[in-house]
């Protein structure tokens, strides 16, 4: 490039900047109550204030009594949640081919869905994303006549879940709890219950530098830190609470060289970390990564009975689904107990259908008794704290806090 060419290029940029300075256009206005409403003015759902998601005239559920389409059914779901047995049994039962596409995290999936670049019939959706998908009309309401297993099998308190009262758009997905996982062989005297605030253990334990990990998920990492700080509302958007959480994680990073990652099951098994923020299912997965000479008994998990961080997701149908009837059949298929059994044995998460209560899962020998603490109990689910959707301002506050954590600023 010649010097003249370079200057011409810079001149073009300067011209554009000058133009930008001369013109204005309205945009980005916020409507409704920014504190209590999310995308599209939809009220922010919480367990103690359920929300009925809006239905739109131009986005209605399919009619009853339609025949299933020929497929293939495109399923967009989290890596490692749906077992191969479930795909195979659906194909065998309905004669419809299933084509799954997997995402690594819901954060990765959402932009693809919103941009319209992901062609799918049915999607495993995180609870926080629901108002965004509804407000943007990228999902359609469900027709309950295709979902007999919902009423017959799903736990009573989820017949009308707080995040989607009357279950207009969703069927329940999976439940798991978030807590503390540790290696007992490296921390033999550690017992979270011995701490006044067990979450504070990360900040209190000595000799764990370089062996500590939190999730590289904004909501999980900051929420546990809020709980450690004594803030029970893990959906708070108060600046003081978020600032304190950032400060606490900065302190933890300084003290322990905290890692942020999503491979808790692997790093715990390999001994890279001795204590981690983890999902109960991670302890189940970790068993498969343990060196052969180490017993799975060394993998421990703790979450409180009352106020545990519980996460769940749900299944939704694309508004542009080419196979909407088959999508309903898929959602109904997942609500069979047999699929719940397949799922918990495959991925360690609970499908909320009758007979899949944690006690039954262990009593029936579906899972080893060692994993009793790693599976969310009905009490933990009933008394747990959940990530709820946030307003745009709330999301911005959380993202800024997370940026501060991730940049160690």
């Amino acid at each position: 490039m010649s010097r003249r060419g370079l200057l011409q290029g810079l001149g073009l940029g300067a011209g554009a900047l000058a133009l930008a300075a001369c013109a204005t256009r309205e945009g980005g206005s916020t409507t409704g109550n920014a504190a209590t409403q999310g995308p599209g003015g939809i009220d922010l759902a919480r367990p103690d204030s359920p929300v009925k998601l809006p239905l739109y005239d131009d986005n209605q559920a399919i009619k009853s009594g339609l025949n299933p389409e020929a497929g293939p059914l495109k399923v967009y779901c989290w890596t490692g949640t749906v077992p191969k047995k479930t795909f195979a049994s659906f194909e065998e039962k309905y004669g419809i081919e299933v084509r799954p596409t997997f995402y690594g995290s819901p954060d990765e999936a959402l932009p693809k869905i919103l941009s319209g670049s992901m062609d799918f019939d049915v999607y495993e959706c995180s609870m926080e994303q629901l108002p965004i998908l509804v407000a943007n009309k990228v999902i359609q309401p469900v027709n309950s006549s295709y979902l007999p297993n919902y009423e017959a099998n799903v736990w009573d308190h989820l017949q009308s879940p707080w995040y989607d009262a009357d279950a207009s758009y969703t069927t329940p997905g999976y439940y798991w709890s978030t807590g503390i996982a540790w290696r007992e062989d490296h921390l033999p005297d550690f017992d979270p219950a011995s701490f006044e605030n067990p979450y504070d253990a990360f900040w209190q334990l000595d000799g764990i530098a370089g062996k500590v990990q939190f999730f590289d998920y904004m909501r999980d990492a900051l929420a546990m830190t809020l709980l450690r700080n004594g803030v029970s509302d893990i959906n708070t958007t108060e600046k003081a609470h978020l600032d304190a959480a950032v400060e606490a994680l900065r302190e933890l990073t300084e003290r322990t060289r905290l890692r942020l990652s999503t491979d808790a099951y692997q790093t715990l098994a390999q001994g890279t970390n001795w204590i981690e923020q983890a999902w109960g299912a991670d302890v189940y997965f970790a068993e498969f990564y343990l060196p052969k000479n180490i017993s799975p008994e060394v993998l421990k998990f703790w979450a409180p009975e009352d106020g545990a961080m519980v996460t769940s997701d749900s299944w939704v149908i694309s508004r542009n689904a080419k196979n909407p009837v088959a999508a309903h059949l898929w959602m109904d298929h997942l609500l069979e107990r047999e699929q719940g059994v397949n799922t918990v044995q495959y991925s360690g998460v609970i499908t909320p259908v009758r007979g899949m209560e944690m006690e039954n899962v262990v009593a029936d020998g579906i899972m080893d008794a060692r994993l009793l603490t790693a599976l969310p109990s009905p009490e933990q689910i009933a008394n747990g704290v959940f990530h709820g959707p946030l307003s745009k301002e709330g999301e911005t506050a959380w993202q800024n806090a997370w940026l501060a954590v991730k940049s160690y600023a």
């Binding site: 945009g27 599209g40 904004m218 942020l260 890279t272 911005t396 940049s407």
Partner: protein
């Protein structure tokens, strides 16, 4: 060297002026059109999209609303990001990390890559082809897989610790993956070394051996020949190779994710990943990406300018 050649008539091979006459009119334009279209579609359009998202806003439904019309560009986001890069700002630490790590990795690339490239180009003799093939081995597998392999090597009970303990250098396993900056630097250098060596090798190979022989014939020692002949002739190839290596390093985010994972070693790519993946501040992510692109364009411009200057100097 340029001074010594000054004033001498350079004989150059020139093609016949009507060499293209054998081809139909517009043939070369038609031949290049698919490539240009591909470039426009997959490089220029996405690049402009980043600019448009940066200058736009994010709707209440968390969808980015790009501003395609430059007349309505909103520079507030971009200027806010620039402010946050200043000391004390939220991006200051990651910016410093990025610059430090990239420069550190570049120094390692030069120290390791230059002797290797020079040896293969000038000294390998009949082994040259075999060594070049060996150099391409890292490209047979993806960057990510190579980094994952390193996790196995550097883990607590990995081969590195076992080796160092067996020869008595370490008494107990060292936590290589426990958030150390130097591990990120070494990993970046390892990851991008092939990108550094190959263009360097190609350029060094073109250095005329007679110039090196001439230096020695005129009484220069080996060290003097290196400093006064080889090194000046290596300047442009080094800049080219450095540019090729630096460009991807600056936007890298998975190396530090995999080899450290600590917020203390985050690079600017990690912040872009957080912001651009979704949520209410995708315009901030786009602004960060845009600033990174502008910095790299400046770097590339310097390379093009300096190589053009070097070509003119030789021609003169």
């Amino acid at each position: 060297m340029a001074k010594r050649l000054a004033g001498r008539k350079i004989l150059r091979l020139s093609s016949a002026p009507d060499a293209d006459a054998a081809y139909p009119r517009g043939f070369w334009h038609a031949l290049g059109a698919p490539g240009v279209a591909w470039f426009a579609l997959w490089v220029l359009v996405p690049a402009y999209t980043i600019v448009a998202v940066s200058m736009g806003y994010v709707s209440d439904s968390m969808l980015p609303v790009p501003e395609w019309d430059p007349r309505y560009w909103n520079l507030e986001t971009l200027s806010a990001v620039v402010r946050e890069m200043a000391p004390g700002g939220i991006f200051a630490k990651v910016l410093m990390n990025t610059v430090t790590y990239v420069l550190g990795a570049l120094v390692l690339c030069v120290l390791i890559g230059y002797p290797v490239a020079y040896y293969i180009a000038k000294q390998a003799g009949r082994w040259k082809v075999l060594l070049i093939v060996l150099l391409t081995i890292p490209f047979w597998t993806s960057y990510l897989m190579r980094m994952l392999a390193w996790i196995g090597l550097l883990s607590t009970d990995g081969y590195t610790n076992r080796l160092l303990m067996s020869i008595g250098i370490l008494d107990e396993p060292y936590g290589w993956l426990e958030g150390h900056s130097f591990v990120v630097v070494i990993s970046l250098a390892y990851g991008y070394l092939p990108y550094f060596i190959l263009p360097l090798l190609a350029s060094l190979d073109r250095i005329d051996d007679r110039l090196i022989d001439a230096g020695k014939d005129l009484g220069l020692s080996s060290v003097q020949t290196f400093i006064r002949v080889i090194l000046p002739l290596s300047k442009a190839p080094l800049i080219a190779a450095s540019t090729v290596a630096i460009l991807p390093m600056c936007g890298d985010f998975y190396t530090t994710n995999l080899m450290s994972g600590s917020p203390a070693t985050a690079m600017i790519g990690n912040q872009i990943q957080v912001l651009a993946q979704g949520g209410p501040q995708q315009n901030v992510g786009a602004s960060l990406a845009l600033l990174l692109q502008l910095a790299l364009i400046l770097l590339l411009s310097y390379y093009l300018y300096s190589s053009s200057k070097a070509t003119k100097a030789v021609a003169a």
